[in-house]
Amino acid sequence: MPEAPVTVSPAPVVGMITLKANLAAPAIASAIKLATGIAIPGPRRILSDGAVSLMWMAPDELLVLCPVAEVPARLSRLSDTLGSAPHLAADVSDARVIFDVTGQGWREVLAKLTPADMHPDVFVAGELRRSRLAQIPAGFWMEGAGSVRVMVFRSVAQYAEDLLRNAVDQTGRIEFFNTP
């Protein structure tokens, strides 16, 4: 059976909240857990519970993914639970766009564009890799075994989509990674 080509498509729109605070403080960790239901992920990790995910972006920064409609409520929940603890929480739902890159060979497509190691032993489910795709910053994480989600800033969405499609279009697999 011929291999299905890798496809690039916009992922469903999702709400996003940037949260900056002292993530090392236990009180803040429990406040975030209380507000989102998810513990703070370790460096370069994404943790999910249902429709909500927490992404570790930096030592003092998380990105909350949730349904768009829940953003205002979750923002106020966060500010309630965090109370007077210094923090920044902002709706950034429109700042980024996400693409789904699906199909066997997605690792190769990404490895044409990012210096991050896409080897299946290294880039595994649960990892959020913030790196570069050609000339732009991007974040990506696995969505099941056969798909990767790629997040870029809105202003370069067209470039990112063109870039991914161009990488897909090149004929022939390199077969560098010994897994789908």
């Binding site: 729109v13 940037t18 900056k20 605070a21 003092d60 210094p86 923090h87 920044l88 902002a90 709706d91 950034v92 739902s93 429109d94 700042a95 980024r96 190769e108 490895a111 044409k112 564009l113 990012t114 210096p115 991050a116 190691d117 896409m118 080897h119 290294v122 050609a134 000339q135 732009i136 800033f153 809105r154 202003s155 370069v156 969405a157 067209q158 470039y159 063109d162 870039l163 161009n166 990488a167 090149q170 004929t171 022939g172 390199i174 560098f176 010994n178």
Partner: protein
């Protein structure tokens, strides 16, 4: 030379697959598996090019990447590429190649007259001859030299092919798929490492299958096949043929150059792939390169490296000649004699420069009935466009001819040089091995990585181990006797002979050129290289390097290690520009940042202006309208009715935390901590040196929350500036920042009718009472969540409305619809610039250039006197910063109403020390103002504000002068009645 295809043999070709190809104007045939070089040899094509300087006839010398002569222009039209090595160009059906540097034809080349004049083209000829008179260089010498010298033609069309990069990571990267490389790969793979093996050619095994030998009784070719099979079966190993390691860099970074489609353009996909590899360990198994011998006429077509001759016979069944004289200083070349004999070709003699020849290979040659002449040398090659014979002499002597041998090919070997390039790229040092007469990697001085450990390991011939027994346990090859170093043949050759001995074939550098350089005082090998151009051609001295520096050492009377080598730099051999660019061409050349309303602007006839990576509309041209007319219309409509501007690119930085006000008080010259919630304030940011770096409006969103607007170009830079201060100096302050630029679309609605337009949308009270100038409010407009800032960069009644970026296009449309009854127009950056200049507002990058402080711009009102400190405060107190003689901002009005040239200087009396006119000011912004119907400008003028009404004289490019009067920079509505309406 009468090259021909042999009836049998050729381990790499498939005689069942014939391929047609074209060389110059002739269609020829070859076989699948041929290189262009082997196919040309099989077709008897001896002459393949003309040399760089003297246009001497040149033939194929080598069989690999080291080839200096057989460079061709490959392909046609959009697939034409010059300087391609025939020796590594795999043949495919329909291949088209042309020889280079010939005119009018390869066979009858007019430039060959240069050769007759070679006495007037000595080393450093260009430097010596074409210095004076100076103007002649540009107009006469250079154009003529450029036509006469040089190799390939530049392509004339855009490249039709595609290229890509590929990032890979591994524990062990092995460069070279010969026996040593495969053995190293197997060892690493068996130890569980992630291994990548890159081989530059299409065949595995390196020289071993041709040169022979055995491993524990098994023929080495079988060992290669077994080892390859074992490696292929291991999931942790990736083997890649046709992929050359081009360079080794710091931190285990390796560039691999894969020629994916060169061997068969029909397969599609990228033509080349650039591998960008991070390796924990790099193993250089790059083999060795045979050296030519320096004898008179060694560049005549038909004189080849001995190893290349047997490669063509064994690998391709292509015989370079019917009668081949072998000339050598070592045992290895006897392999060529034996291979030729086995193929049924004549070997009239083996000329061995050594007085005694004792090794096993010579013994085998003797046994095969070959004639060996010891202590013998080539006095001269006979022939012009091809070898017709060899004059034989003694190596010890000046070249008295003893006899002649008729032949059509000469196989020469001056010994071997390890390919040390990858070891050397990151600083590995070499040691001269006197016994074996080559430079090899010095194990005591390897290249080291960040941790101080050796970063490259070198194995096999590249390390100096030329024999199978030294490379592999169980490797068996005949014992070889030591070579005798031969740098000149014969040893006592006179100058007439030396003037015909070529060291660098591609750049036409002869023994006499190197000696002349030494005589003229060039002692450093690096200087000699540049003076003579030795080793500077596209082959980067792969054949000429060691011979050249040995001759230089001899001329300088010093041992070879005292001379040393030139520097080995990546790439190992040239790689395509396309591979380097990868996908970055056409639409993907650079990321273009688009605002949410980009498509709307495109449809509305936007003329784009790049602002960093953003594209912003410069103006919106209507049918039949010029750009100037469009700008004037946009301004008039905005001033008289209403206009709309996409301001989404402006930086929007959120600053939040108990110390937010404290931070902003330090970053801005003004006091932001006292700003009331709901209010906006214009602020200036300076560097520590006091210079103005950005400006913008700050809005206080809450007790601990501010939104800082930056310039378009400042968004990322100022965010980084904030984070740098927070993270490195004020790390204990409780404040966080976030760059929200991309989250919002921002639309400025500007002009006397702006309020009415937004009121039509409905949802918020935007009256002068509810939302006065420099206030902001949040609500919904036309059902879209909006934050409305009442700020003005035009001097008009103006609202900047931020909506979530996803709502941007809908909001833009809603404003356009609501504004239609008022004649609303979108306007671009040029109208924005003109309107702000009419109002005397500064623009970062126009009025500032990194040397301007706010005080120069009359902005002292925006500098708080109540604060103890802010970034730049102390610098601004320095004597030169506080000097009243600094140039300061004024308006400028030409007396005749014309527009001052941009960047024009105000010329003062007298001359400076350099004989230039003194100046007393310069134009920073200059426009035609449609509002005022005349040219307006701003400029920085010596003591400008004290000189109102004075007339200055500004220069023009054509040498003329324009008179302009110093006026207030505020040309429009100085009282601010409009923006406050």
């Amino acid at each position: 030379m009468t090259g021909q295809r042999l009836d049998t043999g050729g381990r790499l070709i498939d005689r069942n697959k014939r391929l047609r190809f074209r060389f110059n104007d002739r269609w020829l045939t070859g076989y699948a598996g041929d290189t262009l070089a082997s196919a040309l040899i099989a077709n008897g094509r001896t002459l393949v090019g003309r040399s760089f300087k003297y246009h001497r006839p040149r033939g194929i010398v080598a069989s690999g990447a080291e080839e200096p002569n057989a460079l061709v222009g490959l392909g046609r039209g959009a697939r034409f590429e010059p300087n391609q090595r025939a020796t590594i160009t795999e043949l495919f059906e329909g291949l088209t190649a042309e020889s280079q540097n010939h005119w009018p034809s390869l066979e009858a080349d007019i430039g060959a007259v240069n050769g007759a004049l070679s006495k007037v083209f000595p080393a450093g000829f260009y430097y010596k001859t074409f210095i004076h008179p100076r103007p002649l260089w540009k107009h006469l010498f250079e154009p003529v030299i450029r036509r006469a010298a040089g190799l390939g033609k530049a392509p004339k069309m855009a490249d039709a092919d595609r290229y890509e990069h590929f990032y890979a990571h591994c524990d062990t990267l092995v460069a070279g798929g010969g026996v040593a490389g495969l053995a190293a790969a197997l060892a690493a793979a068996e130890a569980g490492k992630r291994v990548i093996v890159l081989e530059q050619s299409s065949a595995w095994g390196g020289r071993a299958p041709v040169d022979g030998g055995a491993v524990a009784g098994t023929p080495v070719e079988a060992w290669v096949a077994e080892t390859l099979a074992a490696l292929r079966a291991m999931p942790n190993v990736h083997l890649r043929a046709r992929t050359m390691v081009a360079g080794v860099y710091d931190h285990g970074y390796v560039i691999g150059y894969e020629r994916v489609g060169d061997h068969d353009p029909a397969v599609g996909g990228p033509r080349h792939r650039l591998w960008r590899i991070r390796a924990e360990e790099i193993v250089a198994a790059t083999g060795a390169i045979e050296r030519p011998l320096s004898f008179a006429g060694n560049d005549i077509p038909g004189v080849m490296l001995a190893s290349a001759v047997r490669d063509y016979v064994v690998n391709y069944g292509a015989a370079p000649g019917a009668r081949t004289v072998v000339v050598t200083n070592n045992d290895d070349a006897y392999r060529t004699a034996l291979a030729l004999k086995r193929a049924g070709l004549a070997v009239p003699a083996i000329l061995d420069a050594r007085p005694k020849v004792t090794g096993a290979l010579p013994a085998a040659a003797r046994q095969a009935g070959l004639s060996i002449r010891t202590g013998a040398a080539v006095a001269r090659i006979k022939g012009a466009r091809g070898v017709i014979g060899v004059e034989v002499c003694d190596q010890d002597g000046s070249g008295a001819v003893k006899d002649e041998l008729a032949c059509d090919c000469v196989a020469m070997s001056g010994g071997w040089s390890p390919a040390v390039h990858l070891w050397s790229h990151t600083g590995g040092k070499l040691i001269w091995d006197d016994a074996r007469a080559f430079f090899r990697p010095d194990p005591a001085r390897p290249p080291v990585g960040a941790n101080g450990a050796p970063s490259v390991r070198v194995v096999g011939a590249a390390a100096g181990y030329l024999h199978l027994g030294d490379i592999l346990a169980g490797g068996e090859t005949p014992d070889e006797a030591p070579l005798a170093p031969v740098w000149l043949m014969p040893a006592g050759a006179e100058i007439a002979k030396k003037a015909k001995m070529f060291v660098d074939f591609q750049n036409d550098v002869k023994v006499t050129d190197v000696e002349l350089a030494a005589q003229e005082g060039y002692e450093s090998v690096e200087h000699t290289k540049r003076y003579t151009t030795l080793g500077m051609a596209t082959d980067q001295g792969k054949l000429s390097n060691v011979n050249g520096l040995a001759i230089l050492s001899d001329a300088l009377g010093q041992p070879i290690p005292a001379t040393g080598t030139t520097t080995f730099r990546p790439p190992y051999s040239p790689i395509s520009m396309g591979a380097i660019a990868g996908e970055a061409r056409g639409d993907l050349f650079q990321p273009i940042r688009r605002t949410p309303m980009h498509a709307r602007h495109e449809a509305a006839g936007a003329v784009w202006e790049p602002v960093g990576q953003w594209r912003r509309p410069y103006c919106f041209v209507r049918a039949g309208e010029s750009k100037d007319a469009a700008v004037a219309r946009e301004i008039r409509t905005t001033r008289n009715a209403v206009g709309m501007l996409d301001a989404s690119t402006l930086g929007k930085l959120l600053v939040q935390g108990p110390d937010a006000g404290r931070l902003l008080d330090m970053l801005y010259t003004g006091k932001m901590s006292t700003l009331a919630e709901g209010r906006c304030r214009y602020g200036l940011m300076c560097s520590e040196n006091g210079f103005l770096i950005d400006d913008g409006v700050v809005a206080r969103l809450g007790p601990d929350t501010f939104l800082c607007h930056t310039t378009t170009g400042g968004a990322d830079r100022i965010h980084a500036h904030m984070e740098e201060w927070i993270q490195t100096e004020w790390w204990d302050w409780q404040v966080y920042t976030a760059n929200l630029t991309e989250h919002y679309a921002q639309v400025a609605v500007v002009g006397p009718q702006a309020r009415r337009v937004l009121e039509t949308l409905g949802g918020m009270d935007l009256s002068a009472e509810a939302l006065p100038f420099m206030h902001w409010a949040e609500g919904t407009l036309g059902g879209i969540p909006a934050r409305v800032f009442r700020i003005s960069f035009s001097g008009e009644l103006s609202y900047e409305v931020a909506v979530p970026a996803g709502h941007g296009p809908a909001f833009w449309d809603a404003v356009a619809t609501a504004g239609a009854p008022y004649g609303i127009t979108p306007y671009g950056t040029e109208a924005l610039h003109v309107m702000r200049a009419e109002k005397g507002f500064i623009m970062i990058g126009d009025e500032t250039d990194g040397t301007v402080i706010p005080q120069d711009l009359g902005l002292t009102w925006a500098i708080s006197k109540k604060k103890d400190d802010y970034l730049g405060k102390r610098a601004q107190a320095r004597s030169h910063m506080a000097d009243p003689d600094r140039w300061q901002l004024v308006g400028l009005e030409t007396l005749d109403g014309s527009v001052l040239p941009d960047g024009s200087y105000a010329v003062a009396d007298g001359m400076n020390a350099n004989g230039q006119a003194n100046v007393e000011g310069r134009v920073t912004s200059t426009y035609h103002s449609p509002t005022l119907g005349r040219g307006i400008a701003m400029g920085l003028v010596h003591r400008g504000p004290d000189r109102m009404g004075e007339v200055l004289s500004f220069n023009r490019v054509d040498g003329g002068r324009i008179k302009a009067r110093i006026v207030s920079p505020v040309f429009y509505d100085p009282e601010g009645e409009k923006q406050n309406a």
